[in-house]
């Protein structure tokens, strides 16, 4: 049912300039289904998401492009319009404002724009939205931390480092902020924790 030739053209077109646009699309897990894709977005500059790479699960319904694609963040992200639990996205063009003349690339670019300009009045995650409105600095710290912890390629070792320091007896939140402040250097974090 999915318009295969259109989707293939979309993939080629999108990946042609992904170095500039910061968005790219590939078949999900290198699989063979044209209707299950993975998109990536580079975190926009001057935002707490900068430096992160965010992966998005894309599923194309049978009526694509006449029905909107289904998109969900795979990478955990702290943002008022994205669920911190499951990555669900609140964005009009993925719902009733979808138009068949839009593309997966434009949708990903919209998500990138959403990362730059949150819309806390129409939140997907109420907790995050509250924090964004009431305590901006904590919001920025948390978002930055989540980017560090989940959206960076070297962040795989992050949880291990946290685990190790927690097991030494430090409270988890202190461990995380210490690690964050020293860009994940385990020894420096330990020093910091001991001196505080």
């Amino acid at each position: 049912m999915v318009d295969v030739s259109r989707v293939q053209k979309e993939l080629t077109e999108c990946n042609r300039d992904s170095a500039i646009s910061g968005v790219s699309i590939a078949l999900h897990d290198g699989g063979s289904s044209i209707s299950h894709l993975t998109g990536t977005i580079a975190g926009p500059q001057d935002t707490p998401y900068e430096g992160g790479t965010f992966r998005i699960d894309i599923r194309l319904p049978g009526g694509y492009p006449f029905e909107p694609p289904k998109m969900q963040f795979i990478t955990k992200v702290w943002h008022p319009n994205i669920s911190s639990q499951n990555g669900a996205i609140c964005l009009d063009i993925l719902k009733d404002q979808w138009s068949p003349a839009l593309t997966l690339k434009t949708a990903l670019l919209s998500l990138q724009a959403l990362l730059s300009t949150p819309a806390p009045d129409d939140p997907q995650d109420a907790v995050v939205a509250q924090q964004y409105l009431r305590d901006k600095s904590t919001f920025l710290n948390t978002a930055r931390y989540w980017t560090e912890a989940f959206a960076k390629s070297d962040s795989t070792g992050m949880e291990e480092k946290v685990q190790k320091l927690v097991e030494m007896g430090f409270p988890e939140d202190m461990v995380r902020s210490a690690l964050l402040s020293v860009n994940g250097d385990e020894n420096m974090a330990l020093e910091k924790l001991c001196s505080s």
Binding site: S5, G63, S99, A101, L102
Partner: protein
């Protein structure tokens, strides 16, 4: 409401019928006279003063007229605003088929804003939008297609026909077909229905049919003043109301209903109250509640045992005594608050007040429900009572007597039924009016008590007289001597009028003293002394309809001829004889008029409008 004003407008005159009855001064107006009066009131109402009273008139839209009625509205838009048909429909759907409002807004907002808000493109584009080449790339499928296979909407956006078709099919399947927007991002223009029809029917005729049906039904679904008749099996009709939608109507199929909520006619209960009431009656939550609060299982035989009296030692019929508070088996030796040899220590004031509250609530509900039910049960006897009375009348009429007119019995009986309805629904009304459930902060307890007394006084008077009327009507007058018959007649006529007046007064009390002072508006359907208005049949001015049918192309034959034109073919001579009115129906005066059901044509129609689309699609 209407009749209350009637007496001020034109004072009662004595009727010829009544003068035969040697002018008994105690006799009030007969029903016939009321009809004459009401007609003059209606006339007054129609001449003006429509604003501040519950004025409404209803008309029935049969499936033949469904198309005619919307064509008429479309025609107005097309002629007066110079619109294309699909733009006229777009405008009407956007403003829920409220023609008057559209003209109001046209004044306030101006043409451009009115149109763009509804999704009608302002500029009418020439085909200059399409480049003068033989092939273009469709922005949806990215294929290069010949220009002949591309369609442009009024907004100037163009895509290939194959993409348009796929898109329309998805939208129609989503049930959005009444407002299919252009495919271009952020373009609010509504697609040309002729193009939708053309492209979709070429690929999927069945989906094109659904589209057609959705368009047709938009007139009902997107229209606050039109509702499907709730009859099952569905009679195929819809009812249109002009004026206050808080009213009760009768379809030509005989089904009576509250226009606002489509439930059975329930005035003077409001729709909100009625919904709560049926829900309450349905789950009988009170009873369940009562049983759980007021009974406990016996520790020996497990039967539910009700507590009687104030002390906490209860005894089951099996002989087992047990403690009400903890449910534990005990001996029978006890004082008021303790049982010897048993100490559960669970006696609390709170427990007993909760029980008391539940008991009070239940008794309150039962009080209202019993009375409500008594009157509804009596109404169920309606048909039987009518038969009995007809039989008595036929015997009386063949009797050797100078009394030949027994219309007073039928009039009295109709009055009895109407007032019983009012009484019956006045109980759920009172149940909610004087409780915290809906009007918690609207009245102080003192105010509430005062108002409740005022209302109950009227209700009791009405009830008393209704039962008296009922008593006289049940008399075996067929066996009476003439003077006894005359005496019964006087009582029946008298009581009928008293009861009618009391109903009217009770409505006035409800509307003016109880509901009017509320901060949140609460509406009820007005009192109809003569029973519900039967919806009049809709007639369309033939001349204009004929004109418009030329300017509009419809896909099937039935639409080309206006209903009414071939009324004789369809066997309804009634239509031919009745004057052809302009589009809006008028309130029909129908008391005592035989029901004029029209045979509905069944052949020729493309779809079966006997069921709304959603239902038809499910099956």
């Amino acid at each position: 409401m209407g009749r209350g004003d009637a007496e001020e407008v034109s004072p009662p005159v004595s009727s010829p019928e009544l003068e035969q009855d040697d002018g008994d001064d105690d006799c009030y107006l007969s029903d016939q006279e009321d009809d004459a009066l009401e007609e003059s009131v209606l006339q007054v109402l129609e001449d003006g003063h429509l604003e501040d009273c519950h004025w409404s008139s209803s008309s029935v839209i049969t499936k033949e007229y469904l198309l005619g009625a919307q064509k008429e509205d479309l025609r107005k838009m097309i002629e007066l605003l110079g619109l294309k048909e699909h733009h006229a429909r777009t405008l009407l759907i956007h403003y829920r088929w409220d023609v008057e409002r559209i003209f109001e807004l046209l004044d306030q907002k101006g043409r451009d804003r009115l149109f763009s808000e509804a999704g009608i493109p302002l500029r009418s584009t020439s085909n200059a939008g399409l480049p003068s080449v033989t092939e273009v790339t469709c922005n949806v499928c990215y294929d290069d297609v010949p220009i002949s296979a591309v369609s442009e909407m009024d907004c100037g956006h163009n895509y290939c026909n194959q993409c348009w078709t796929e898109y329309f099919i998805v939208k129609i399947n989503e049930g959005q077909s009444r407002r299919v927007k252009c495919m271009a991002p952020k373009c609010n223009a509504i697609c040309d229905e002729a193009l939708v029809r053309k492209l979709v029917s070429a690929k999927c005729p069945d989906i094109a049919e659904r589209f057609e049906r959705f368009l047709l039904e938009s007139y009902i679904e997107d229209n606050d003043t039109v509702k499907w008749c709730p009859s099952t099996p569905h009679c195929g009709n819809a009812i249109r109301v002009k004026g206050d939608i808080h009213c009760e109507v009768e379809c030509t199929c005989g089904r009576q209903f509250c226009f606002n909520c489509s439930s059975e006619a329930h005035s003077p209960c409001s729709c909100v109250m009625w919904e709560l009431w049926i829900k309450k009656c349905r789950d009988e939550s009170e009873t369940v509640n009562w049983i759980t609060v007021n009974t406990k299982p016996c520790p020996k035989c497990h039967k539910p045992v009700e507590k009687n009296g104030g002390c906490n030692l209860v005894a089951c019929i099996c002989g087992q005594a047990f403690c009400w508070l903890c449910g534990g088996a005990t001996g029978r030796d006890h004082t008021w608050s303790s049982i010897s040899g048993h100490s559960c220590g669970r006696f609390t004031e709170d427990q007993s007040t909760k029980t008391e509250q539940a008991r009070r609530d239940l008794y309150r509900y039962m009080h209202y429900h019993n009375r409500y039910k008594a009157h509804t049960d009596s109404l169920k006897q309606e048909a039987k009572l009518k038969r009995d009375i007809q039989w008595k009348i036929s015997i009386s009429e063949n009797k050797d007597s100078k009394i030949k007119d027994y219309s007073w019995v039928i009039n009295g009986l109709n009055r009895l039924f109407r007032s019983r309805r009012v009484l019956s629904y006045s109980y759920p009304f009172a149940f909610y009016m004087f409780s915290d459930e809906i009007f918690k902060d609207e009245m102080t307890p003192q105010e509430r008590e005062l108002k409740q007394n005022l209302f109950e006084d009227q209700q009791q008077q009405l009830e008393f007289n209704v039962e008296r009327l009922s008593g006289f009507l049940e008399k075996d007058f067929q066996n009476f001597a003439d003077d006894e018959v005359m005496d019964t007649m006087k009582h029946v006529i008298n009581l009928s009028n008293v009861v009618d007046r009391l109903c009217k007064q009770m409505y006035q009390c409800i509307e003016n003293d109880l509901l009017y002072p509320l901060r949140t508006p609460h509406n009820i359907a007005p009192y109809k002394s003569k029973g519900l208005d039967r919806a009049s049949e809709l007639h369309i001015c033939l001349d204009s309809a004929e004109q418009s049918s030329q300017s509009m192309k419809y896909s099937h034959d039935e639409h080309k001829t206006q209903p009414g034109l071939h009324s004789n073919e369809s066997g309804s001579s009634l239509l031919g004889k009745r004057p052809i009115l302009p589009l809006h129906g008028s309130s029909s005066d129908n008391s005592g008029r035989p029901s004029h059901k029209r045979e509905r044509k069944s052949g020729g129609a493309l779809f079966d409008l006997n069921v709304p689309a959603e239902l038809a699609d499910k099956s």
